[in-house]
Each structure stands twice: as C-alpha cells, then as structure tokens.
C-alpha cells in the first residue's frame, strides 16, 4: 500500500466550515455526525460524494458537509438525486430528507424511487413535525398531537414509511436513532454498500416543537432479530413492532435499477440516416 493510500479520511474531512442553524439539542446534529463518520469509513473522497436534499430543517444538511451538495426545492430531492446518480453512476449519492419533505410533498417520488431501485441511499430524519414553519403536523405525526393548524390533533393515522418502502420495492430498509450516532453511521455505511435503493429512517427528535421526543432515547432498542430478505416477513415485523426497533430490518436481493448510459455506438451524424427519403 502506498503512503497516500494509507492516509485514512477522517470525519472532519467531510464536514464544511458552515455552521448549522439547527436548534441546539436537535437530533439532526447527531445525524450530521453520523454521515461524516459513515463517509469517512466508506473512504470515498468528498468530491466523489453528492448530498442532495429538499426543504426543511433536515434538508439544510448538504451545506454542512464538504461534499458536492444540492439544496433543491421542497419534496423533490429523490428526483434530483436519481437524475444525478443515473447520469453519474461513479458518484456516491446520499439523498437526505425529513418527514414533511419526504413523505408529504415528496410522497410520490418516495414510492417511485423505491420502485425504480436506483443505487442510492435515502436518509429521512423523522421528527414527526414541520420544524422550519414552527410546528405543524406531518404525515408521521401522532393523530392526537395538538397544534395551531390542527387543534386537538389531526385524527389521522400516521404514514408508515418503512412498510411503504417495502411495499414499493426498496432493497434495504433500516431504522436508526439519531442519539446513537455510531450505530446510525454503521447503518448508513451498510445502506450505501447495499446495491439498489436503500432507505434509512432516522428517528431524530425535535427539541423545540416536540420536547416530548426526549423520551425516545429511553424507548429505542436494538431489533431483536437479524434482518430478513423476505419483504412480507419484514413488513409483518415492522407493522407489529413498537416503532422503536433499531437496526437493519430488510436486506433485499433485487438487482438495482440500471437505466445507465452505455458507450456510444454511433456518431451523432448517423442519426440523420433515418430521416433520409
């Protein structure tokens, strides 16, 4: 091994000098730490990694990394990340989102990204609330959570992202907890290495609008069984667990979606021929 190869990248090599605007105590600080640790462990240099996001607290994360980043419009990060990964399969693409961005306005893209199974990793920081707009219920919010927009609660059944990911064809499904940054980093590393579309839901408490979520650290626990490759079994487990089962829950065997550019077979001028009379 050469000297240069031996220099191991450190998490700090993946952090930018832009200071996060998240509230102190926010789980997203931990997630940023997990991402930089995961990327350092993966060893891909920062210029070969792209971090793509939409809008919301969690979506501020690209600028806090030293990778190529894209902070796009609300809900469309998966589409943008898909275009990037298909055009540039040599890159490691992380798409980072939140429960409002990813499951509400971006819900349709979530379904189709799972189904398309392009080789990218989707990390959703779920705090069950819209934070940037001061605390409105999101698709994962409990039905009785009181807020100005939905006094007394929405009365709606929360969206179940992990089961929806399974049903839609995601090839890797995991749940993590922001307060365990090492474990989250390990899961992200595995998600990136797993072929196809990998989905990691990170429970990431909002200290400002959901102070009740401080109890999550006492509720989370390691998944009691190894991940399965049977989506039906995984779905059953996830639907019947307590929502705080942490770990890799499903590792699928679907070949990744490969709409990939091949080598050019002909010169552009050859395309003219079909029009000649």
């Amino acid at each position: 091994m050469s000297v240069i190869e031996a220099i191991k990248l450190k998490p700090r090599d993946f952090a930018s000098d832009v200071k996060p605007v998240w509230c102190p105590g926010c789980g997203d600080y931990h997630v940023l730490m997990s991402v930089t640790r995961a990327l350092a462990a993966l060893g891909t240099p920062p210029e070969r990694v792209a971090v793509v996001s939409g809008i919301g607290c969690s979506s501020r994360i690209p600028a806090y990394t030293n990778c190529y980043g894209f902070h796009g419009v609300h809900g469309r990060s998966l589409a943008l990340g898909t275009g990037l990964k298909v055009a540039r399969p040599d890159l490691t693409v992380l798409v980072m989102s939140g429960d409002g961005d990813g499951f509400s306005i971006g819900g349709n893209h979530f379904l189709h990204a799972c189904r398309r199974n392009v080789d990218l990793t989707y990390v959703v920081m779920d705090n069950r609330v819209y934070g940037m707009t001061k605390g409105q219920p999101s698709p994962t919010t409990e039905p009785d959570w009181d807020s100005a927009l939905a006094p007394g609660g929405t009365g709606l059944r929360p969206f179940h992202p992990l089961v929806i990911a399974l049903a839609s064809g995601a090839n890797f499904v995991a749940r993590a907890f922001s307060g365990h940054p090492d474990e989250t980093a390990r899961i992200i590393v595995e998600a990136v290495r797993h072929p196809g579309f990998s989905f990691v839901e990170v429970l990431s408490p909002c200290v400002t609008f959901r102070p009740d979520q401080s109890e999550w650290k006492d509720l989370v626990h390691a998944a009691p069984v190894e991940a399965t490759d049977d989506p039906a079994r995984a779905a059953r487990r996830i639907m019947t667990d307590d929502g705080f089962n942490i770990g890799v829950l499903y590792r699928g065997n679907r070949p990744p979606g490969t709409p990939q550019a091949g080598a050019a077979e002909v010169d552009v001028a050859e395309l003219d021929r079909e029009f000649a009379i």
Binding site: V21, G25, R37, M132, G135, H180, D182, E183, K217, I246
Partner: protein, 183 residues
C-alpha cells in the same frame, strides 16, 4: 455472536476489551469524541449567540484535546487495532464520555453544561473502573486503573468548576422570543 434481545441498547460489552492495545484505542477514541462534541457544541452556541457557553465548551474541548494528546504520547509507536467508531465496546450505544447533545439547549446555563460534563466524566471513570476490576491480565488492569484515576481527577476538576458557577436566577426555559419560521 449472540443476538441482542429486545429492549437492549446497541453496543458491545466492555468485557470484550482484552488487551492493552484495545484499551488504548478506546481511551483515545473516547477523548477524541469528547473533544469533537465540545467543539461542535461551542460552534452551536456561537451560532445561537450564547458566548458564555461557547467559551466554556471551547475550554472543555481544549481539555479533551489535551487528554487525547497525552494518550497519543503514551501510545507512542504501539500498534493499535483499527476500529471503526461503531466497533468500540463501550457497554452502551455511545462513548461514555460523550456529552449528551440531545440535552443541550441554546438557553442551557454554564452550570447545567458543567453538570452534563460531570455526568460524562463519571461515565468515563466507571468505564475504566469496570475494566480494571474485571481484568485478568495485570498489565491491562494497571492501564485501566490509571485511566480510571485520571477520569476521577477530571470529575474532581469539573466539580470544582461547578462550585464557581452557582445556578443563575433565570430559568433555562425562560425565552421571551418565540421560535421564528424559516424555509
């Protein structure tokens, strides 16, 4: 490898640490992580306009960086096992000395911050103390006890700092400004 049982936190038992090399790797990682967390907390407090707390965290980060330097000197040219951050055997999901990010608010007082630092130093002491007590290898026992003694010293230093920071009259949740909507 035994499957973890429901309800257990992730993380391997510290009983897995069986050599001086592994112990030193853990000791160094513990200080590095502590330094990183205090540094990031200092940044957070600067962003959120709490210069007093930022200064305190910066100071604590400096201490931890110094401790890490000391351990590196002790390691010298010794070959340590290469561990990813999640490969450590902390006996819990996180490094014992890692200050709890989730417990910090921008209104946190220096006394509360010191209390969190104290908790972290105590967990670090307990970690080494536990290994020292259980170690069969006398060399491992000696090193673990030495680290435990150092952490105990840190505990005393933080306690001393706490004495200099009586609880201010303002309640930490007292915030006259409401949250502001952004994006």
């Amino acid at each position: 490898m035994t499957a973890p049982v429901s309800g257990s936190p992730p993380g391997r038992s510290s009983a897995a640490i069986a050599s001086v090399g592994e112990l030193l790797a853990h000791a160094l990682r513990m200080e590095e992580e502590a330094e990183e967390r205090y540094r990031l907390l200092a940044d957070q407090m600067e962003t959120h306009n709490n210069p007093e707390l930022a200064g305190l965290f910066r100071k604590l980060a400096g201490h931890e960086a110094h401790h890490a330097e000391e351990i590196r000197a002790q390691i010298g040219r010794m070959e340590l096992p290469g561990l990813e951050s999640w490969d450590h055997s902390w006996g819990g999901p996180e490094s014992p000395e890692a200050v709890d990010f989730g417990a910090i608010r921008y209104t946190t007082t220096p006394r509360q911050a010191l209390q969190l630092a104290l908790d972290a130093e105590r967990r670090a002491f307990e970690f080494f103390d536990r290994i020292a007590a259980a170690a069969g290898d006398p060399e491992l026992k000696r090193w673990a006890a030495e680290f435990a003694a150092e952490e105990d010293e840190h505990v005393r230093l933080v306690l001393g700092e706490l004495d200099k920071h009586p609880e201010p009259p303002r309640h930490p949740d007292d915030d006259p400004d409401p949250p502001v909507p952004q994006d």
